[in-house]
Symmetry: D2
Subunit: 433 residues, 4 copies
């Protein structure tokens, strides 16, 4: 069965039991819906160390609720399976030993069906806990529950990234979401939007008491920005082809030294998943299978190195994360852009001002992923969530066509290594004024 669910904006968890409950159920259901087109075999494999099997994502997100809520907060909770703690812990060193990441694809048992049972088991227990616990317990578990929901949303996007990569390794190139191409639109004309700079507030500030953000988005703090301009839209595939055709991948002058090494060692000559057929036509592999390159769509599946080199070639630069966040100030983030359920970047309709800030491809910034001034990691094992990764990675902003709508906000900091390409990442240019 190959039915592709839209990724609908889920209810935001917000304090009250019934709201959190609804959001929990919706999120859990979405994960299963995303896995529905996958066979037991599809869910088992791991196509590279960076990726995880779909089955693992489904189990790990359940393990999170079991470990951080059921075991610690629900008296008498019976473990579904005592081995799962070892199998489905991801990074949390404080929680104990765990299965080596690169061997996740060797776990044939539990089966995909067993994992479904595990999910049900955890769902039932969590729902019972939400419905029946005391107000004190509720106050205690609410933040972790909310974190767990957002954690699962992250894995929803990872699941899509990972299965796309897995399918790209098969000579059959299966299509996750059917092979009907998205409707084509013309890209809007490129324009430059000016921003005045100055001192501005960056970072998450809750509008209401129950809004959620990860610890790495705090504390809110002031930064000084110089006047700058940002492109109204993301770079398109057509523009990227110009870069390729101008020998962009063969001219060291545009590249960071580390990027140039990567280009040469890996023979990069186009974004990940692109292919040129014998008659020189380009195609791109995506969740809808291999499709002719849509020249008007935002470029996707590029590394930081490529984004930076493209900017150098174009005589521009990437924005900083502070510039991006300041620019996003007045852009609506209500998730409507996702209503098409698009799983491949689409050009936004012609619009004034900034477009494609969310819902197409994550946007590279030139900012390394480091703690904000005054950053404090959360206490306990969940404190390992973000701070541990604050080296060697770059911040991306916005949100992609594979990002759950409820997971999008202006202060959100996504991060990847500068050579990684399997995420839905694109680029928007900036320049000094």
């Amino acid at each position: 069965m190959s039915f592709v669910p839209s990724i609908k904006p889920e209810t935001a968890p917000s304090g009250s039991r019934s709201q959190v409950l609804a959001c929990f159920e919706e999120t859990r259901a979405l994960t299963d819906a995303l896995a529905a087109p996958l066979s037991a075999e599809d869910q088992t494999i791991q196509s590279m160390p960076d990726a995880s099997p779909a089955k693992w994502h489904r189990a790990h997100t359940s393990w999170f609720f079991e470990t951080f809520i059921l075991i610690s907060k629900m008296g008498g909770h019976e473990l579904f399976d005592k081995n799962y703690g070892y199998l489905f812990n991801s990074y949390y060193e404080a929680i104990g030993a765990r299965h080596p990441r690169p061997e996740r694809g060797l776990i044939t048992r539990p089966s995909a069906e067993d994992v479904s049972k595990y999910r049900s088991h955890v769902n039932e227990s969590v729902i019972a806990l939400i419905e029946n616990c005391s107000d004190d317990t509720w106050a205690e578990i609410n933040p972790t529950l909310t974190l767990g929901i957002h954690h699962e949303q992250q894995h929803q996007e990872l699941l899509l990234m990972d299965i796309l990569h897995a399918f790209s390794c098969s000579p059959l190139e299966p299509a996750y979401a059917g092979t009907t191409p998205l409707p084509a639109h013309d890209a809007v004309s490129q324009a430059w939007i000016s921003f005045p700079g100055g001192i501005t507030q960056i970072g998450f500030k809750a509008a209401t008491e129950t809004e959620f953000a990860f610890d790495n988005e705090s504390p809110q703090h002031e930064v000084i920005l110089r006047p700058y301009r940002m492109a109204n839209r993301q770079v398109t595939n057509r523009e990227w082809l110009n870069f390729i055709n101008d020998d962009g991948y063969r001219r060291a002058e545009f590249w960071l030294a580390d990027g140039w090494s990567h280009v040469q060692n890996n023979g990069w000559n186009a974004p990940l998943y692109w292919q040129q057929d014998p008659s020189n036509q380009w195609s791109a592999f995506g969740l809808r299978g291999r499709q002719p390159l849509n020249l008007d769509a935002p470029v996707c599946h590029i590394s930081y190195y490529e984004a930076d080199a493209f900017a150098a070639w174009a005589g521009k630069r990437l924005p900083t994360e502070a510039e991006w966040e300041a620019a996003a100030e007045n852009v609506p983030m209500d998730g409507n852009l996702l209503s098409s359920g698009a799983l491949r970047p689409t050009p936004a309709a012609s619009t004034e001002g900034l477009v494609q800030m969310v819902g197409d491809a994550w946007e590279y910034t030139q900012s390394p992923y480091v703690p904000y001034p005054g950053f404090k990691a959360a206490t306990g094992a969940v404190g390992e969530y973000n701070g541990k990764f604050m080296s060697n990675q770059m911040v991306l902003r916005g949100g992609s066509c594979a990002t759950p709508a409820g997971h999008i906000r202006k202060s959100y900091r996504n991060f990847f290594y500068p050579h990684q390409r399997w995420m839905f990442a694109g680029v928007r240019l900036a320049e000094d004024i």
Copy 2:
């Protein structure tokens, strides 16, 4: 369902259509029976480059019949799927491009179920061809059909080796064949059987016109042997423990230089699948799961390097393949030893003369795998079958508890790299007189 079939001696293919047909059907059915305890997930993964997924074995053996018989000999045969040629070719360079071996575990589609359909499709076509073809065609296809049957028998053993390795990589250590241990027997006392040496014939000589052997077993030729002795039985786990306890894995003096590198680089300190628990008890993982070490059983899952080092420690040596074959002259090879369906080495009942020559573990010889004098590879793509591998490997003789009975004969030359351990390989000592 975890039902383990006995590996019964199948009918030998021998010339007549009905006999070959029976043998074909029996062999094809056995492969499916061997895969029956495996879930779709189990059948998909590849736990190391040397191994292949169970699903792949099932498809590749079918591809062999489709490619070398149906496509070339059956007018109007419709390919089950045009992609399978690429996916399930193993080595045959002459047949065209093929999927890279180390990526066989990334093939989630076709599913295990699709492969079952493929097998049925091939079976039906082959059976129809056997039943209906002209006598001329029959004469033409009979040798390839017979080769295909023996080829599939080889993959039956590989399937068991590979799934054992795959399961050993899972923290859950699933038991392929249930967890009931085999009945224990005492090992027979070690004794030395003398052989006079002299000029002797080595290699396959068909007793009847329809007997089968691989090309690498021919031509029959004379060799000169010095007088020698061979141990009446294989080395036991008890004896191997003595080697371990005498620091066998830590004393360079016993080891070939290449072997010593392997020991150090890989931290070998016992046969593959052995484990010592905190109270120093040894166990071994096998098709019946993890079991306490049976001290009377033949040692298994050792490399050539280990076999050679053990022999040096014991003040003995390994036999040559000619010595082994000459010694096997009067040993019955009728497959009765396999009647227990044992999938783990068992000590043979006390017996005079050589025991355990077949049916427990393959036995290392000190002979590198090279062509016999006057060897000619078969013509055509199937000529790539054996000759291509005549470098860097060592010959093993006999047959293991995982070898189909019909696949056992005195002249059979099995071969592996000297560092490999995942096959059911043990050791029998020899010495000069």
Copy 3:
């Protein structure tokens, strides 16, 4: 002969021909003095891809002057050897093909003696050019000449780092600078110096027209700092031992995820060059050979990962580069600290305020090496000098015992990968107020 020259503050190049000339001669002579204790063999080897042979440093710094000044600016300059361009180019892609970095240690010819002749040849030509060129030419070459002098100073420190690493790979552990230990001093007591934060200027601002700085130190720009404290001195070996003895290298909780991988994959349990003898006494290998660990000296040869983990263990953090630079505002940088010619970190004499800001070990900051707002790389090949490396590296500030005095300034940004340890790098703690 093992004579170790002091690294004296050289005349700063400053505009006038005679001043630049004096500085050029002094710098060129210092390089040769640093190489004087090294045999032809010592100068040839490359002990790891990150390092270069001493001979290569001596030739490459000459190649820089030949390529960027003599070839382009001196009519009729005869190349000393046409192969040297290929052999001794380091990174400059714009200049053409170059010998692969990891194979620099395979260049036995030209000999160390040939390289001495090359240096003389370049020296003579450059000196003649300085003395005789027209004022227009002088105006043109002065900046490149000054850059070349600073470039050579960088390689002076690299030469010392690299030979220390090379000698550490020899079982004989040769002492570069004799084996007389430095006089011991007690470390000053740790104290915390407060800084108010606020908006402050960061980056190079020339006090006079002829002062030099690299492009990566510009443009000067404003940053906002929160109030903070910095330790008055660097972390000592005694303090580092406390970290070790508290299982610092075995507790994941203190480490960045990438750092923890490094610790485990490389078996790190102490700074580079440290060793514990059978009676548990620690020693450190340095330019004066292996010496008992000086507990009062600043810790040296640690990676960013280790510095960050130590700070986490200590409940502190690393300063940002802006904090460091702001704190350094009133610290004298006149190079007097180097007057001892110390080639191993020494504790500074007891002093009020910040000590050891320069002259002992480079100090890690938590700032990734990225362009300053408005950064523009220099044009031409020398523009590849710094900007190319602005990814994946961390900024270090100050200057070490191996840094030429004239190379020290408050705005100087040194940078290394977070796993590297062979540079003279230590750590100073900071904290929020």
Copy 4:
């Protein structure tokens, strides 16, 4: 200074003190003569793990005499340097720890000059011992001394192989032996010499009591040979070019599976050191620098895989080592062929019968290097000399232009891994009758 000594037939060590003494002195002097064209830098580097620095060869051969004769047999011998045992042990596990082989190129000290002193020290002691020891001691040390001389002869050839490889890694491609090409000769016409086969003796049988052979050449034993033919001469460069031009390196059908992997993974398309210039002219790098390919000379610097593939392409096969030795029965091995001092393969003068059996390039056999029936390794540490390496390697027979004349005999078994190419190895074809 680039003076190339002829490798003259040295006196064979043969029992009497004066004869062994003369041979010892001659051999020691030849090693130094071979190193004479090398600078201190040249002698220091190691261009790949398989190779060793020239300085190391010079020291290791001295260490052999010091360790196995002076230390054990000469009362009161003072070690030249106590560190040398660690530095210059090669494989002998029984003698204790040793410097890791791949790091031999990091040993800058002792210097080349120190090693010369070490050689003199050992020479003087050994000579004094020979001249002055008792007859009993003489009887004891004579075999080890003789072994040491032959051991040093092996390293003389290794020194030439290794320095050729080292120089090939330099962009300057220095010429070890000047750049004057050897006089050209036409190759003799190819012809096939028949041999009757039958039972024949193989292995070393001393004609006199004092003749020397390595343990691996014994015991002499009978083998059965089928009638066969061998080519009268080695394969020429011209013939090899035909193989290349017939796509020999691109057609899997000729290659062993392991060989084909090597071809593809390493991009082999010609013998080692061959290069094609833009006008398609081939040249080969050798001890006389880069020279245009001499089409009449024997092909050299090929791997076993290439030799085997060439034979398959030619419709022939490689001889076994027994066939080679039987064929060599009546070929003079007096070393006269080496009188030219040729360091590059030269075509032999036109001759009837087998030519080029020694003195040009080692000849591959299809025989893996395994013990002869009844082989016993020598006792003590020197017993590690040959037996340790009896796996994964192939036997080569004859002797090359770099083999000392005294080191050549019919029963000599040289051995290398099937992928190695840096030795002076060529190929002679054989076929069944």
